[in-house]
Symmetry: C2
Subunit: 357 residues, 2 copies
């Protein structure tokens, strides 16, 4: 499909980057591609650079190194987008909550327990603390090939709140749900703070050069429908509305992992331009239920990328067959895992660019 009227599409469309065309609603052939966690431990050049830095947060806050890490997969593989190398927990950190990353253990935070703890957090130093991230965005924006799109991102408020309240990862999110269910208005105050911080953070990323922003709601799927509407859909809707006011031409994507049967409502209600599909979403249902309304992005199982071979090729063909005739961005259904052979990533990109056979 060709662009019906390029002149009417504004400055960004004139650049005609494939990822932005797809997010504009165009069926781009071959579909643009990027991969969640495309910068990371599966790459030897990442591991080498990582070894030079103390903590994981130090890396996120070192613009030269974070920019280099962001660019590594683009140099090696030429994906259609680079995604800012950072972590969703820089926002609670910038709000004043301690965040540590312990090797093999994931993030550790002193858990927020209630309104008192919330009162100790503040937006005041947000941009000061996040300024190294904005500098990373600027550096990457200045270094990318002309056809490559720069994606900024943040965690969605619900998912960020779970880490803040649980103090790290969780199996059943009992502490976060206890707060949310026992005192929904009090929990709303935490979510409101995160809406404010996240909208401001993404606004600055866009000003620094991000051309698309994505909200990751990794733990959206643990919410029952009423709570999903209140703490997954409504906050993202509020952030999208803020961003669209100030930056009407900048597409916003959402990734409500595990949303299942709530995917269509999320796509319709949030106002997002693109939606990330997790590995469980059947591509043919995404084509029927989501693609008429938003650009879809996904959803190869990262473990199929590890396995490679005929199984990966068949799964890629299924996804392309169902989705590539509409607005579509190829991606994984979850992040690349460390044991992924880099040569499988190269093969995957070839498969996607050759198109369905």
């Amino acid at each position: 499909m060709t662009d019906p009227d390029p002149d009417a599409r504004g400055a960004r469309a004139i650049v005609r980057k494939p990822l932005l065309r797809a997010l504009d609603g165009e069926a781009v052939s071959p579909p643009p591609l990027w991969l969640m966690r495309q910068a990371g431990r599966y790459l030897p050049e990442y591991r080498a650079l990582r070894a030079e830095v103390g903590s994981f947060l130090d890396l996120c806050y070192a613009p030269d190194k974070a920019a280099e890490v962001t660019l590594q997969p683009i140099r090696r593989f030429g994906m259609d987008a680079a995604i800012l190398f950072s972590d969703i927990l820089v926002v609670p950190h910038a709000l004043g909550q301690d965040v540590a990353f312990r090797e093999g253990e994931g993030p550790v935070l002193p858990p927020l327990a209630a309104a008192d703890d919330l009162a100790r957090l503040s937006l005041e130093r947000l941009h000061e603390r996040l300024s190294p991230v904005y500098e990373t965005v600027e550096r990457v924006a200045g270094a990318l090939p002309a056809e490559t799109t720069l994606i900024g991102f943040a965690g969605a408020p619900w998912t960020v709140a779970t880490y803040m309240v649980e103090g790290g990862s969780s199996r059943d999110f009992a502490a976060t749900k206890a707060w949310a269910y026992d005192d929904p208005a009090g929990f709303d105050a935490l979510i409101a703070l995160l809406i404010e911080a996240t909208a401001a953070y993404l606004d600055r990323q866009v000003r620094a050069g991000a051309e698309v922003v994505q909200l990751f709601d990794t733990w959206a799927g643990v919410l029952p429908p009423d709570a999903f509407r209140r703490w997954a859909i409504a906050p993202v809707q509020a952030i999208v509305a803020r961003l669209k006011t100030d930056h009407p031409g900048v597409p916003v994507s959402g990734f409500p992992r595990g949303a299942g049967l709530m995917y269509p409502e999320y796509a319709a209600a949030t106002g997002i331009d693109g939606i990330g599909l997790d590995t469980a979403v059947p591509p043919e249902q995404a084509a029927a239920l989501l693609q008429p309304h938003v650009t879809v992005q996904g959803n190869l199982d990262p473990l199929k990328l590890v396995a490679g071979g005929a199984g990966m090729a068949a799964a890629v063909a299924d996804i392309l067959g169902a989705l590539s005739s509409g607005p579509f961005i190829f991606n994984l259904g979850h992040g690349i895992v460390p044991q992924t052979p880099p040569e499988h990533v190269a093969t995957l990109i070839d498969l996607v660019r050759e198109g369905p056979r």
Copy 2:
């Protein structure tokens, strides 16, 4: 709604237990109710009995104690069904794999790595090793009130296989998926063994007095659609077909947790009579997509049961409002958690039995 023709419904219907009427496709008012993990650590009488026994597996294999634990919540709360107290990992244990339960750590198994390990497993001693479970079923069947249904259960093959291959719980199921994706035919052999063992195990539970059996597929939601069809739908379909041949009147329920947009296909393809809804399923979608075909069962968030109060009442009213005019069994969307106040369980049962207001 009353039963249109009780005489035509066979011996079980004459008993007219509410849960069996619901699984026969009747809209029973008030809806029958039971709760996943209704026997367990949230009950002081369970903790007292648990302290008398060495390991968790010892409890599963002590018919007097396992029967007592199964009956505890029925005595206290009068649910409409008792579910056999056991664990899904008794099947790999009976096949010859070591299984240990360490306090606070969950199950630990020596992980199966490939075909060689598989060859060491055997169906030969299955029934001998599981005979205490059959005795538990017999004891409970003889002790239940006349209106209470006895549910037997097993893990579905995919979920049991994940524990066997990972050696316990997992976050990304990398080892199981590596086997399944690298060598699907080899992995099929493990699934085939589990189909055989599970069908034989459930057959014996029915012969011992189980009136309904349920297959728990806790980790079904991590499978992409093609793998979901092969390793979640097909094995359950095979087990249901086996059970229906020998026990045509015994309803089978399935709980494909996290199936999301695959729920309707699972309900249609497996041949099950009842389907468990996880917390993420919107009740109104279950009413539209599932309830015309199967009895639905669910799906209050167990953390809403912990919170209690107005939030729990509102969620119960939503579920009843959407589902109680069709074939429906009230349940949680996941198991009761240990910190649940028993008095909230009593309140919940009152709310369900009062019906939507």
